[in-house]
């Protein structure tokens, strides 16, 4: 690896989007890592999404996961995505025995909407089938307390690493982040202006499988592939929202595009068994939980998140809640999470679902719905 740091200055400029012009803060991106010949995002299949559905993946109440159905959904989805006849060959299109693979899970929606242990276990099983040692598989999150709450270990073979960058969200431990790989920006006058990539990503992993959920998000509109892998691999990201304003419109994509994260994230598997349509990214109660009973697969995070925008917005419409695109101040109660949790027509800040489109302008994938190549499979 060339250890010279590539410094990229992204200057402040207004960006036109489907929802109007947004100002983008000046970003200074510092990384010593060059992109792969074919970066993992958007990977070999830009715009392509395989959507596998099965009513049998959960029990009627939505509480219990049917592991064999999930296994079949993943197998079918991976074969459809790659065109391979066997499941193992499909996984071999992405991974080889010498790889060190990270599985970026999402545990923030505990207890009701997290990356399903059944999906994570099947991913690990397939990686081992490809020839990886279990110790070369890392299930990771930013916060250990969230990983502990989900407790993946009983579902995984001995040797799989389950690791977090910080104990919990106190912002006092930076030691697991790479001091030489970061995005620098002053957003709200903060002094701590750097967001650093996890050392695990820069110095250990060769590939990443991204396993987000289908979730609403108070700042970004939705949290899917892009936000899970970006905000889940960098430090000091909560600073992007303050007092009703969020810089997530440009920050999510900017982080996701930083090398080596962009090149190494080679596979997106969105866990849509259950989701949350309001109050996200959390899911403290069942009130806003729903059960799409789907798994979306692809290499293009923008394409999958483009579909997610519709999934969450359609569910909200069905529940007579305001759209994730609604920017009216009359629905905003600043930082009043209790009011937000009580009423699906309350926002705590202006949401930025346009972050998905913005990410497409950075080359991370295809946003235009008409250009997506969607394959729907019903099991």
């Amino acid at each position: 690896m060339d250890r010279r740091s590539f410094v990229r200055l992204l200057t402040a400029a207004p960006v036109a989007s489907a929802v109007g012009a947004r100002s983008v803060p000046p970003y200074r991106v510092v990384s010593a890592y060059a992109p792969a010949a074919l970066p993992g995002m958007p990977g070999p299949w830009p715009g392509r999404v395989v959507d596998v559905r099965s009513n049998a993946c959960l029990d009627p109440a939505g509480d219990v996961v049917n592991e064999s159905v999930v296994r079949a959904m993943l197998s079918r989805g991976m074969r459809a995505l790659t065109g391979e006849k066997s499941t193992t060959d499909a996984w071999r299109r992405f991974f080889e025995p010498s790889d060190v693979v990270g599985i970026k899970v999402n545990c923030g929606g505990h207890p009701f909407v997290v990356s399903s242990p059944a999906i994570v276990a099947e991913i690990v099983r397939q990686l081992v089938a490809v020839g990886l040692a279990p110790s070369h598989v890392h299930v990771y999150e930013r916060f250990q307390n969230q990983l502990d709450a989900v407790d993946y270990a009983p579902h995984l073979p001995e040797g799989v690493q389950i690791v977090a960058a910080e104990g919990w969200n106190l912002r006092v431990d930076n030691s697991a982040y790479d001091p030489d790989t970061y995005v620098e920006a002053e957003l709200f006058g903060e002094e701590n202006t750097r967001s650093n990539m996890m050392r695990l990503v820069t110095r250990r992993l060769t590939k990443i499988v991204n396993v987000p959920n289908m979730k609403d998000h108070g700042a970004t509109g939705v949290t899917g592939c892009l936000k899970n892998v970006a905000y889940g691999s960098f430090s000091n990201v909560a600073r992007t929202h303050s007092r009703g304003t969020s810089h997530t419109f440009s920050f999510v994509g900017t982080l996701a595009a930083v090398e080596p994260l962009r090149s190494r994230t080679v596979l997106q598997i969105m866990d849509g068994l259950s989701g949350v349509w309001h109050g996200g990214p959390f899911a403290h109660t069942r009130r806003y939980v729903f059960h799409p009973r789907r798994i979306l697969l692809g290499t293009d995070p923008v394409a999958i998140d483009r579909l997610l925008l519709d999934v969450i917005d359609e569910k909200r419409r069905a529940e007579r809640a305001i759209s994730i695109w609604d920017r009216s101040p009359r629905f905003v109660k600043l930082d009043d999470t209790a009011a937000r949790d009580d009423d699906p027509n309350v926002n705590i800040m202006i949401r930025e679902p346009g972050h998905v489109e913005y990410a497409s302008t950075l080359g991370l994938g295809v946003y235009d719905r008409a250009r997506l190549r969607l394959e729907e499979i019903e099991l």
Partner: protein, 312 residues
């Protein structure tokens, strides 16, 4: 430094507790106390070096704030920038001043002790007795810090008009680690001179000191700042340096130790060394010199760490 000089440089502890606590004081390693005048003889008889502090002398001292963090929902947030209360700017504004931390609540004394030491101030600490051990540990640690007489590092010259309003501005500049020195008149050699009431810095804009300090920062630009701290919003810095040696004092005003604090200091410096309270000597990690600045990571910061760097 001689023991006598060293003791004089350390903060003084005011201890109105009965002489029956002498064993605890000695066990804490505290060798010098200020006590009520009528108790001086008893303390000396108990083998503790004691000097009188009269009530009048206490009252004559400038009272200081409890150092640490405050919840101020109007101007700060837990997630973005906690509100730091620090007294360094007062010491800097009045180097000959005589100060008092009066009735510090428990848990504050060690930080106050370090704060006084960093700025070489004349301050008396009236602590909660439960903090005796922590103060003793801090004093013993401070006694191990090598002496270094070096010029102050400052990026901003601030014309001191003596006003309370300017005091608020100084407090906010310090909170942002915008290193300043106080001057009597505009300094043409300074990177930036701040004088309230000028066209550049109207007095009414200082009514919001937080916004004012941010405006100063943006006028100076982060690239021209001598020191930056990454990984925390609650660590304040004082720096002194000449062409061959730099010393960076880091004070943690938060309630928890910080791991992996990244520091950027202007100039090209060798890897250097750090000495932290409760930690001792520690290496600086991920040392990264460039043309205009040197970066390093401090593995751990409890309350106070001093970093010494040598020029390359």
């Amino acid at each position: 430094m001689s023991v006598a000089l060293l003791l004089a440089a350390l903060p003084a502890l005011y201890w109105p507790e009965p002489v029956a606590t002498a064993a605890a004081v000695r066990e804490a390693g505290i060798e010098r106390l200020l006590v009520p005048p009528d108790q001086v003889d008893a303390w000396r008889a108990a083998g503790v070096s004691a000097e009188p502090l009269r009530a009048l002398d206490r009252k004559a001292r400038v009272s200081l704030d409890e150092p640490g963090l405050l919840v101020r929902a109007d101007v700060a947030s837990a997630t973005l920038r906690p509100w730091v209360v620090a007294n360094g700017w007062r010491f800097r504004r009045d180097p000959a001043g005589r100060f008092l931390y009066d009735a510090l609540p428990p848990g504050k004394a060690a930080l106050a002790t370090a704060e006084v030491f960093v700025h070489g101030a004349d301050a008396v600490l009236a602590i909660d007795p439960r903090d005796l051990v922590q103060v003793g540990l801090m004093l013993r640690f401070l006694a191990t810090v090598p002496d270094a007489e070096l010029p102050e590092v400052a990026d901003v010259a601030v014309v001191d008009d003596g006003s309370a309003l300017l005091g608020e501005v100084l407090s906010l500049l310090a909170r942002r680690n915008l290193l300043f020195r106080l001057v009597g008149a505009p300094d043409p050699d300074a990177r930036l001179t701040v004088q309230l009431g000028t066209e550049e810095f109207p007095r009414d804009e200082a009514a919001d000191p937080d916004a004012f300090a941010l405006a100063v920062r943006r006028r100076l630009t982060d690239a021209r700042r001598s020191v930056r701290v990454f990984g925390s919003e609650v660590v304040l810095v004082r720096a002194v340096a000449d062409s061959s040696h730099a010393r960076i004092h880091l004070l943690n005003y938060g309630q928890r130790p910080i791991a992996g604090l990244r520091v950027r200091f202007a100039g090209r410096w060798d890897a250097g060394r750090a000495l932290g309270d409760g930690i001792g000597p520690m290496p600086l990690e991920d040392h990264s010199p460039s043309d205009d600045a040197t970066e390093f990571t401090l593995p751990e910061l409890a309350i106070y760490t001093v970093v010494d760097l040598e020029a390359r």
